[in-house]
Symmetry: D2
Subunit: 345 residues, 4 copies
């Protein structure tokens, strides 16, 4: 950490800082410039009260040098995390996320009914999908919109897994529901609106299930990593990061899918990175090109909305692929994956 | 709701839409332009599946005409909501938010210890503050940062109320904590990060306490009103809206305080509007000018961070006022309030 | 165009609107909903004064139905524009942008000196680049930063073309310079900061040279197409669009490269689309993954910064590729291009 | 300037940096932390090639300590700039911008015709306005929109000045027009879209007229000050800064008026600060509250759009005040100005 003094700040100001810093158990290193004095802090920065420093007389700014996240960083752990999903049924093969394979999670926005889940899942499995996505609890902007089937939806997902065999990823929104959802889900999804619901992060962090953490609409990648740090710090190291579009001024897309998040997160962290081009664009005709681009950029997986009849979907129809388009896309993705030295398993 | 057809969409496309709309119990009104056909929907729009419409063949766009929020809107209820806070102690006077008076909520970011709360509160009351703010549960970006005193903090606040007499506003972050926090707080605060924690909104909506809802960092004013709608729809009409800065590209302020939110929200809704210039700017020297500006723009109240010794604050020191500066600001605010026909009680 | 009336607006309000609209030479179509009346306008909308409509008594909103751009739209011209660049030298082959080939424009941020241009260009040509990029006039945030070599730089570029044979793309910043720059350049580049310098757009629109128009930092895709419309409307149909990153709250990248711009622009317009991942990310290590992603998303070309010694570059060193890395990237791009049914010529 | 080394960067890396820095004529100061080494640069930073430093082996980041603008900063010149506008006619009183008085610039978005200018100006002067605003050259998103009357419009403004006596502020968009516009205008306005049209800044910087520089839609306050630096550096010290709203995700306002720009710019710079709530909000009913708020926040002036008949305005009608509303607002502003120790002259 570096403390930049104001122009003209005298040696008494600097000494006052040194006194405080020593109290916190660190050392200082003073550098006298032509216009400014700079005080470097040496030692364990977790003891530093940054706000206190910023408020001290003669201080212009305090600049961090080290990163705020540790256990999520590639500096801390240089071996990449590979999340293992056990087989859904006896005799099936398990799954890994973060290896050379590119994983595809597909399914409807919301679990709408039993038949749809069972028949769609069978189709998706045949087309090469690896996980079934589907929300039983839905965060909706309007209190008048469909809020999900709840436990009933979870039961349909459980039936799907035992009958069809695709493992499940589904969202949990409430600290009170984590334990129950974890009984049904192979991966717990924390949605964009809950990325900084820190209590929820702590609870899923004490859970024995992989967690996929979606980037908030207005959150920086550093904040995403800090939220991952909450989960890891609570004891759960199986964290998957997901880019799903950020909020900008552009209006022709629902969100702005920030694909540069993929190489940035791979550079900063050892955690696997998944991209959701359905929410990221909001229009089904943009999903295929952005899914291909995500794989070309190095994503470890994709989350795709597929609906047997998008025009009848209860939510997010416009961004859902038809089963036919999904199947065609899987073929395209395989080609792009190979072009960058990977595959779809 | 208006359905804009694609160029060249034939009468069969339009008839298909009419058929669906009639099934939902509405009527249509078709308008044939030179380049486009437009289908207006007449009737109860809550039955319409917008996504389904958007996905139908020949449809270019579906445009809403009515607002998504109802009970929070000034059209629905033309009389402005005045939230009543009962007296903290027997013999004290109660408080109203949303009337001609401008209400000042002041206090530290976090409840740090008992002595600080009691002595600061006495000072604030003497300087004219109406409510004490102070967080017992703190949402922090880093898991390594101070997370608040929890129940212990709530007890200090309760003691303050019975001894000093300032009513309390404090944040609740978790559905599991609402009942308990409501025992201590006069106003429940839902923080910016939880503005779209819909389960939390439902639970505080079933609570017998006024709720102050802070605008999320990247949320539109329409979304803020939709979140208010969640609370009202669950049964709680005492909702206060709070502008506290949005996330933009500007870096010299912590957030961009969007003061135009005040007149926009007053035009759209009957709910009172409070402004938090401390979080909205992130720097104590910007708090006074922006607090004055908020009152001049028509705010019903202010939320201000005050700390006896900002340099020693555990969190948010740089944006906290000293007691001395707070007192000076109260004098300035009274002058501005009078200039716009209001007062600080 | 649709005029949405306020709730309770009476028939006199609607008649007043009809009277004005008829004066402008259009017809109206009135649709009476349960809560609102809607007036549709039929006829040539270029005669409509939208502001006037919005200000009329009883009007809530005016909503456009048609797109504001015409000649840049795919509706207006369904055949995709293919921009032809003539051979740089007698005997060389010409170049097309917007066909099945993916075009690579490479070179330094700024023309720094003659030797660098000649030797780098020979290398780039050998590695498969199609055009040389290099700025002679540089828009710099600081008046104290290097502003480019000016005409001297243009002369080096001209020499390169006659000696090495790569056609030239270079920026023009000033209406006074267009004629001169057009003598040297094969493609005129209008930079992001000048995307809405409408006088410059008009002047390059009267010029007999293809124009590459870069999206402004905070401009919507619709505004980009409106700026293209300025150029086309002034007589120049050879317009190339370029996505180069937009300004958001994210700080780990210099800009947020909005790759969804590629499929959106291809859906809305017949003009070719190029992506600049160097400016779009600001870091050389992000350039390769985002260049691959751009090709996978369907871009017609790439603009890449390459410098013989990035550490000595006068500007934009950190986002420049070394020649060696550029060559490796060209191989990767060829594989991705083939995976999506294209090639690098 | 501070160079933060990567973790594990050895002494040879540091020595390489020292060697380069010494070559540039500066000294270094090395600080050895527990995890990182930090190299401080001491001396004239204008000789430093930041990009080169960032690219050197072992370097993680380069962090600026000094501000990039000098002559626009309050550190450089501690006395606040007061711009003097000479009397429009013999016998009139001159005007100052940046003193205790709050200056009001009012008028139509565009100069539409002679009569409107003369009669409106007489009204505005009577109501207390200090300058007449009105565009003869209009930057419009669409090539099909009204582009202004050009020189004819300037002549009407000149006639107004000699007949009515309000000094003129009008926009210049093109380097070729600066000399001509300067003959007619008392203040040259550089619009938001041209804030980083650096050639235009240089040309108005060599002009003998005060310049009002509007903040770009997506420009930081630091960039605004850098653009002011261009004008001052070219020789013109009479620069006025203008906040007029930035682009964000919010849709209920045309732009987000960033009033915190006022106290930030007053803290960073000695230049006067004006606020334009008409463009900043886009809706006339938001103009009055935001104008009052701007004065309460410390603005030195306001720019307000007034039109005799907003419903007939060629551009920006919805954000224009009627003369009646303008007059009422002037009364309100006088009260707020006095409440913060200022006046409207």
């Amino acid at each position: 950490m570096i403390v930049v003094m104001e122009q003209g700040a005298g040696p008494d100001r600097v000494q006052a800082i040194e006194a405080v810093v020593v109290e916190w158990g660190l050392r200082t290193h003073v550098s006298q410039g032509d216009e400014r004095t700079i005080v470097g802090l040496i030692g364990d920065e977790s003891n530093v009260n940054v706000s206190a420093l910023e408020m001290m007389a003669g201080v212009d700014r305090v600049m961090p040098v080290l990163k705020a996240y540790k256990r999520a960083s590639l500096e801390f752990r240089t071996e990449r995390t590979v999340v293992k999903i056990p087989p859904a049924r006896h005799g099936d093969r398990g799954l890994t996320i973060g290896g050379t394979g590119v994983v595809v999670m597909a399914g409807p926005c919301a679990v709408e009914n039993r038949e749809m889940i069972l028949s769609l899942s069978a189709f998706l499995k045949g087309a090469g999908a690896h996980l079934l996505r589907g929300g039983a609890f839905k965060p909706r902007t309007s209190p008048y919109a469909f809020q999900g089937l709840g436990v009933e939806g979870l039961r349909y997902l459980a039936e799907e897994r035992s009958v069809v065999g695709l493992p499940i990823i589904t969202e949990v929104m409430d600290t009170r529901d984590v334990e129950m959802v974890a009984e049904f889900a192979d991966i717990l999804q924390v949605g964009a609106r809950n990325m900084q619901n820190f209590n929820l992060l702590k609870v899923v962090g004490r859970c024995n299930r992989p967690v996929m953490l979606k980037r908030g609409l207005a959150n920086t990648l550093e904040e995403l990593l800090m939220s991952a740090e909450y989960v890891i710090n609570a004891g759960n190291e199986d964290v998957i990061l997901c880019e799903r579009g950020i909020r900008t001024f552009e209006t022709l897309t629902r969100n702005t899918l920030d694909l540069s998040a993929v190489p940035v997160l791979k550079r900063e962290s050892h955690l696997p990175v998944v991209v959701d081009p359905s929410h990221g664009t909001g229009h089904w005709d943009l999903v295929a090109p952005m899914a291909r681009a995500a794989v070309a950029a190095g994503a470890d997986g994709l989350m795709l909305e597929v609906h047997p009849d998008p025009a009848q979907a209860i939510s997010d129809g416009p961004q859902s692929l038809t089963p036919k388009r999904f199947k065609a896309l899987m073929g395209e993705l395989e080609l792009v994956a190979r072009a960058v030295g990977r595959n779809l398993h």
